[in-house]
């Protein structure tokens, strides 16, 4: 169901949340930001664990601002799984169904169905302490989805798991979400997770929204330095053009940056002469970092580039001066 908030605000002693979150029907929206940015607060406000100071929350056409959590019909999954340790897997998943007063028969078949969905058939009589982290999170997901909520909230669900499991599970979550067509808000601090999962991403900082849009929009056209730095790798070089006014920076990606031995400055290219600081091999390409006193710029290069520039035997004691060049069409001037 569609989620809309209007004018949502909540103040704390040292922090205030002031952001509106929107998710269209069936959409997966990521709340992305560093820890302490307010993304979890946003989730708790939506779930009803926290009450807002002002503003309203709508789920579909219904206003739920004043409803307690147990009347909102929202599913919630936590980083620490929050499985009930005194119940079996079956009882955990059945918990929400029981609150709805479902019949025993329908509960049993629903639990079986969900265990199949999260690929844990036959686990119903196990206890949480007998499960691995990944299994626990699958059970938690099944439990949250069981009562067919109108909205699913996931609070950093994968950050307690190891890297491989994380990629695998995030794909599964996305598949399940798409299959049920469940509107979902997904909180994470991992930009890669956000880019790979989301229909839309909302980047937050200090309790406010910095930018919201599709992964592509955010990657290609960050609105400000914070978003640019947070999503992907980026070069940010101060513009010297307008001294005195608000500081502005050139933004461009390392993969678009070319390196030359001499300046190629022209009407459609910008060049920076920098001292080569490091040369790093990452597999498909090399990453070169050039610095001066004020800033640094990274560029991707291949074997051929290295030979061409005679820097294959780069030594930090005698660093060469190189020109880092970028086409104007691939840079953006953004405020910092």
């Amino acid at each position: 169901m569609e989620l809309t908030t209007r004018n949502l605000k909540r103040r704390f002693a040292d922090f205030s949340f002031d952001a509106d979150i929107h998710a269209a029907e069936g959409e997966l929206v990521c709340l992305l930001g560093p820890s302490g940015c307010g993304k979890t607060t946003g989730l708790q406000l939506i779930a009803g664990i926290l009450a807002p100071d002002q503003g309203s929350i709508y789920l579909g056409q219904r206003e739920i601002t004043a409803l307690p959590p147990w009347k909102r019909n929202i599913g919630l999954v936590f980083q620490d799984y929050a499985l009930f340790p005194h119940m079996t897997v079956y009882e955990n998943i059945a918990y929400g169904l029981r609150q709805q007063g479902a019949s025993k028969y329908s509960i049993t078949s629903r639990v079986e169905e969900l265990l199949d969905l999260v690929e844990l058939p036959g686990y119903s009589q196990r206890r949480p302490e007998q499960l691995s982290g990944g299994e626990k999170q699958r059970v938690a997901l099944a439990r949250a989805v069981a009562p067919s909520p109108a909205l699913l909230l996931l609070d950093e669900p994968l950050s307690a798991l190891d890297a491989r499991l994380r990629t695998q599970l995030r794909r599964e979550i996305r598949n399940i979400q798409k299959r049920i067509g469940l509107t979902t808000i997904y909180v994470t601090h991992d930009q890669e997770e956000a880019l790979s999962l989301s229909d839309r991403i909302i980047v937050m900082q200090n309790g406010t929204i910095q930018q919201s849009g599709t992964p592509q929009e955010l990657y290609n056209s960050p609105l400000n330095e914070f978003v640019a730095r947070f999503i992907g790798n980026s070069n940010l070089v101060p513009c010297n053009t307008q001294a005195g006014s608000d500081r502005e920076v050139y933004f461009f990606r390392p993969e678009d940056t070319r390196i030359h031995a001499c300046s190629t400055e022209s009407s459609d290219t910008i060049s920076f002469q920098l001292t080569l600081k490091s040369l790093e091999y990452v597999g498909p390409y090399y990453i070169l970092e050039g610095v001066n006193q004020e800033y640094s710029v990274r560029a991707h290069a291949n074997e051929g580039d290295l030979t061409r520039l005679h820097i294959s035997d780069f030594s930090p004691e005698d660093p060469p001066q190189l020109w880092f060049c970028i086409e104007r069409s691939k840079t953006k001037i953004i405020s910092s």
Partner: protein
């Protein structure tokens, strides 16, 4: 369900034998020397005394009443403690730390001061009644709580609710808030959330508290007689006291103690079984912490909190404050009007001939020293014992667990008597006497530590221990680096209670060695020479020492409870 024990393959370290030696020497030997007289009244086996006692309808009646009042009192203490535990775990409010420290205080008061405090506060001419009489212009006291079963239950609640409060709160705080939120978003309103998620997980602490409270109420004595209004409320302890001290009939006292012990241990057995069934491994949460300041009580919540705090003020603070107030008063007119004075405190601290300082100062010093040592000993013994029963799969683990509660079920009069009998066989006791008192107090207090520690120990998942051991830590190191830090808050709380138990203990000390003056003993002596006000002053000091201890322990435990 059997818990997978991390060290079931391992045999207990021989060092645990010292523990058994301690218990044998300072508990089973003295107690056995008295109890066996129940079967060997004249040195040879003769079960007639025992059989007579078992079959007497009088014995059965007082046994029944003893159980009845202990169960009622336990339920009432839980009722008082649970909401407090909720408040302490959920909300931050001004004075929270103070409430926590003060909540341990009732525990330390010797029964005589509890009785006096209750009378001064609830009595016919007590504070509460005189206020009500003045407010509503009544000629007769409107509240008649005392001298009834109600008063017994009330006073036991006053005494024991701190156990419920602190044990439950220390567990409650560890419940990850995410579980609550999960349950709520799954559609469980507050009440159902409490009964399906919170309560089942609090059961280990609730059971532990119930067992302790039950035992304390089972051997309660002065409170039952005086506040109950007389002999119609007779408990086993009164009868044991009479047989041992008025009738000199130690065989009969032994026989009665055996019966009481067997029955209470039966109850403890059931309890241990239940507790094992209900304990489950709860991973200590790594998830979101409860944002305390987030919790804004709702309107009904506010009313609930206000009602609870008012009830606490009545039942707990009232009698306590009454004692403190009385210590600052002296009668000035013949009609008994009172004025403010510090005279009693001056008397306590001046040590001229005939002044109370001659007894009060050594008493304070003795009490504090004995208390520290007894608490230390109780913590070591209790921790070792709970470790033994939780971490090793022993053949008679459950039996040992049950038996470890025995000191609580034993009348302290019998314990004192046992020590007395044993000490007789050691010719040069001298200074060791004070260490024997320490041992007696440690024996009385260690079950408390063991209960508290066990409930935490059972919550540490074996995977954590295995992980630590695979990382190369020896069992000793695992204890120091993994288990001990987790247990520390519980240990600190238990140590504070052990200290308080020792500070307030009177019966065993009195029977065993009345020449070592402790604070409660000094209080009795002052009352014995008509100085009730001075006794209240010394009682206030006792309360202050105890509150200080609870504050320090809370701080050193570096914990919320």
């Amino acid at each position: 369900m059997h818990l997978p024990s991390a060290r079931s393959w391992e045999r207990p370290h021989p060092a645990f034998l010292t523990l058994l030696l301690f218990l044998a020497l300072f508990f089973y030997l003295p107690i056995g020397s008295v109890l066996l007289k129940g079967f060997f009244p004249k040195g040879s086996f003769d079960p007639s005394v025992f059989i007579d006692t078992v079959t007497s309808p009088y014995t059965l009646r007082i046994l029944w009443f003893t159980f009845f009042q202990a169960i009622l009192s336990t339920l009432f203490s839980l009722m008082l403690g649970l909401p407090g535990a909720y408040l302490l775990s959920m909300y931050s409010f001004p004075g929270r730390k103070l409430v926590r420290a003060a909540s341990g205080v009732p525990f330390v008061l010797p029964p005589i001061l509890v009785v006096l405090g209750f009378v001064i506060f609830f009595g016919n001419s007590g504070l509460l009644n005189s206020i009500l009489m003045r407010l509503f212009d009544l000629s007769e006291p409107p509240l008649r709580v005392l001298y009834s079963l109600k008063a017994i239950i009330l006073a036991h609640g006053f005494y024991n609710f701190p156990i419920a409060l602190r044990l439950i709160a220390s567990l409650w705080q560890q419940l990850p808030p995410s579980q609550e939120w999960a349950a709520q978003t799954l559609g469980a309103p507050r009440r159902r959330l409490f009964f399906t998620i919170i309560l089942p997980q609090l059961m280990p602490a609730i059971l532990a508290a119930s067992a302790l409270i039950f035992m304390f109420c089972f051997t309660s004595f002065a409170i039952i007689l005086v506040l109950g209004g007389g002999p119609q409320f007779t408990t086993v302890e009164v009868e044991i006291y009479r047989l041992a001290k008025t009738s000199f009939d130690i065989p009969a006292a032994g026989a009665l103690s055996i019966i009481a012990l067997v029955l209470t241990l039966g109850i403890m057995g059931i309890y241990v079984k239940l507790q094992n069934k209900m304990a489950f491994h709860q991973e200590l949460s790594s998830g979101p912490v409860r944002p305390r300041s987030y919790n804004r009580p709702s309107k009904t919540g506010f009313i609930g909190i206000a009602v609870y705090i008012a009830a606490m003020l009545m039942i707990v603070a009232g009698p306590l404050v009454a004692v403190v107030v009385r210590s600052l008063q002296k009668p000035v007119t013949r009609a008994g009007e009172l004025s403010f004075t510090l005279e009693w405190y001056q008397q306590l601290f001046s040590s001229g001939a005939g002044q109370f300082g001659r007894i009060a100062l050594p008493a304070i010093r003795n009490s504090v020293l004995i208390g520290i040592l007894a608490a230390a000993a109780a913590v070591v013994v209790g921790t070792a014992l709970s470790y033994l029963t939780v971490r090793y799969r022993l053949k008679f683990g459950r039996l040992i667990d049950t038996l470890s509660m025995a000191p609580l079920a034993i009348s302290s009069v019998i314990l004192g008597l046992g020590y007395f009998l044993i000490s007789r066989t050691i010719p040069d006791l001298g200074r060791a006497r004070i260490f024997m008192i320490v041992a007696a107090h440690a024996v009385i207090a260690y079950p408390f530590v063991a209960r508290t520690v066990s409930s935490v120990l059972k919550k540490i998942p074996p995977s954590q221990l295995q992980a630590a051991m695979l990382l190369g830590a020896s069992p000793g190191k695992v204890f120091r680096t993994v288990e001990f830090p987790v247990m520390l808050p519980a240990l600190a709380a238990a140590a504070a209670f052990a200290f308080a138990i020792s500070l307030g203990e009177i019966n065993a000390t009195l029977v065993f060695s009345s020449s070592t003056v402790t604070i409660p003993l000094a209080i009795y002596r002052m009352i014995g020479s008509y100085n009730f006000f001075g006794a209240c002053a010394l009682g206030t000091i006792l309360v202050a020492v105890c509150a200080l201890a609870f504050t320090l322990f809370d701080v050193s435990g570096n914990t919320e409870i």
